[in-house]
Symmetry: C2
Subunit: 344 residues, 2 copies
């Protein structure tokens, strides 16, 4: 039951390997009769093309590397799914690597994928220096960033949501419901996502003539604990800096914040309104349902897939480096739940 090689088929049929190859790839001119003879033999001898050999020859592995901090996060799962959906019909496969949010791991995986000669790389980096990714780009391998975009001095391609807009939507929704004193729990401002979300918050407040109260801004590292802790601080500090609503910029921190509020004996949205980020309530059983900004995950994936395919096709002719940045910004969604009270 071992699958045979072109050469074996060729021998059995007394034709040359090149003829068989041509028949297999439906290329060039092969006499209809021989083609059929070959095709039949392929079946009979159970031929399956060896993509490894083809890769070596063609200098293309039909393989795309995806490196994410945590494959279990719904966001990344969906993105991977989206990418797979669009690239697999073209024969591309996806190698995923889960770095566990660890820089060292990321580097190891990036090296491994380089050895395996992936045709392209999709990267949700935790290394803001992006040193390793730099090497990929330099050697002409298409790299698309999702989530964070590292600071590189060469043109990069990325697909992310418009984080500033996301914050704007969240904050304006709160303002629209009468809230003026809006606290925020941001992520690390060293990262583009964290930075953009917080500045979006600030800008939107200002735009609506609301003064930014630095006491109402806290930062966490995206974990549930961080959300919990920041919320506690807000709550303890409520005497000085009152607020009626809070905007939390990540899913787990949103959960943490909600728990802090509950533990304080306060109710959502009666006492405090909350808008989350990327909250996924698969069960639909969280009460009250959470109003949240949300990335269009699958769309990100399919967009990445399309970009990839486009570049992979072009790359063939001219090993073109990107001339300039291509930062695709997708619109976030605002999913309305019942966690915001209208106080107008």
């Amino acid at each position: 039951m071992k699958s045979s090689t072109l050469k074996e088929i060729a021998e059995k049929l007394n034709v040359s390997v090149s003829t068989v190859s041509r028949a297999v790839n439906q290329k060039e001119y092969v006499k209809e009769e021989t083609r059929e003879r070959v095709l039949r033999a392929l079946e009979e001898y159970n031929y399956v093309p060896n993509e490894v050999a083809r890769s070596l020859k063609m200098k293309s592995t039909k393989t795309i590397g995806i490196v994410v901090p945590d494959i279990c996060e719904t966001l990344f799962g969906m993105i991977i799914k989206g990418i797979d959906q669009v690239v697999s019909p073209q024969g591309y496969s996806i190698i995923v690597s889960d770095t566990n949010e660890n820089k060292k791991n990321e580097e190891k995986y990036l090296n491994l994928l380089y050895q395996k000669r992936v045709d392209a790389l999709v990267l949700a980096t935790v290394d803001l220096k992006g040193t390793k990714a730099y090497e990929y780009i330099k050697s002409g391998i298409p790299v698309i960033f999702i989530d964070n975009i590292p600071a590189l001095d060469i043109p990069v391609e990325s697909v992310t949501i418009d984080n500033a807009k996301a914050s704007q939507m969240a904050v304006e929704y709160l303002i629209g419901n009468g809230h003026q004193k809006i606290a925020v729990i941001g992520g690390s401002v060293d990262e583009t996502t964290g930075y953009e979300r917080i500045s979006g918050y600030r800008d939107t407040l200002r735009k609506h003539g609301i003064e930014v109260d630095e006491q109402l801004i806290r930062y966490g590292m995206y974990k549930e604990d961080d959300g919990f802790r920041c919320m506690q601080e807000f709550l303890n500090n409520r005497g000085q800096s009152a607020f009626s609503a809070v905007y939390v910029t990540s899913e787990m921190m949103t959960f943490g914040a909600m728990k802090a509020i509950r533990q304080y004996g306060l109710r959502i949205p009666d006492d405090i309104s909350i808008v989350g980020f990327d909250v996924h309530d698969k069960a639909g059983l969280v009460y009250p349902s959470i109003t949240t900004v949300r990335e269009p995950e699958v769309l990100i994936g399919t967009k990445v897939g399309e970009l990839l395919l486009a570049r992979l096709k072009k790359e063939r002719k001219d090993m073109c480096q990107l001339e300039e940045d291509n930062k695709v910004l997708l619109d976030p969604d605002l999913e309305i739940g019942q966690s915001v009270r209208c106080i107008l």
Copy 2:
């Protein structure tokens, strides 16, 4: 910034490719001095081994194919993570394919992975015939099944939980809390998981001298809607067949069932107790928290990884087919929440 080849390095150093190769692979005897000279050159000329060429020669791609119905399901995400954790240190990469629960897709992916010559396959199949997987096994490629195990007439290897035991744990927990009339929502009995879970339920009731009431058994296809519908039927039928608790054998159906109960104006656990399966409440915000049987996901992954590594190592010497089934059964966990009322 293109990485060079062994040959190029060899030329620059005026040594042969094999010497360079030996130095790279730290193999055999190379004079310490030459080794160092080579190693330095590798750095200088930015050499990165071409794994494709090596794969062709070695007939091993250091690549493992994983095919799952839905990568976004926490269960599969965790399993993939677990596998990756144990195989990547050995230089293996993982190609994932998301079949979207579709048999045709599954076949397509299985073919693609075969072409790519993955060294092994991990498969959560939706094709109970397992026709395609059969070919892998026949051609000597290690296959490990997770989740469902197809009916094949050759020895197979699998890592799953002990589904009968899972049901036993769920049902005995309910019985221990005084429940006697226990309804169940099962999955498709054509699949091993569905079948085993339901028979585990039956056996456990009998073992405790409780008669099985067929009216209290319903089947769904694992979707939320199915859980909702089955629960409705139970509820509508409650006049004839009363019950105080329900055991639901999948996560989404559990959510559906809970919604049906709520919509009926009944409370959990006051009116009806519920035990779920594989319920993940990442937020920890579902109220009441759900008592659920749970697969030890990461453990499944790491176990699969170890099995894989073991076979991949052996496979080198003797292309040994499995002599007999190797079905690894892992113990499920019972996570106690507040969805079961004690009526003793």
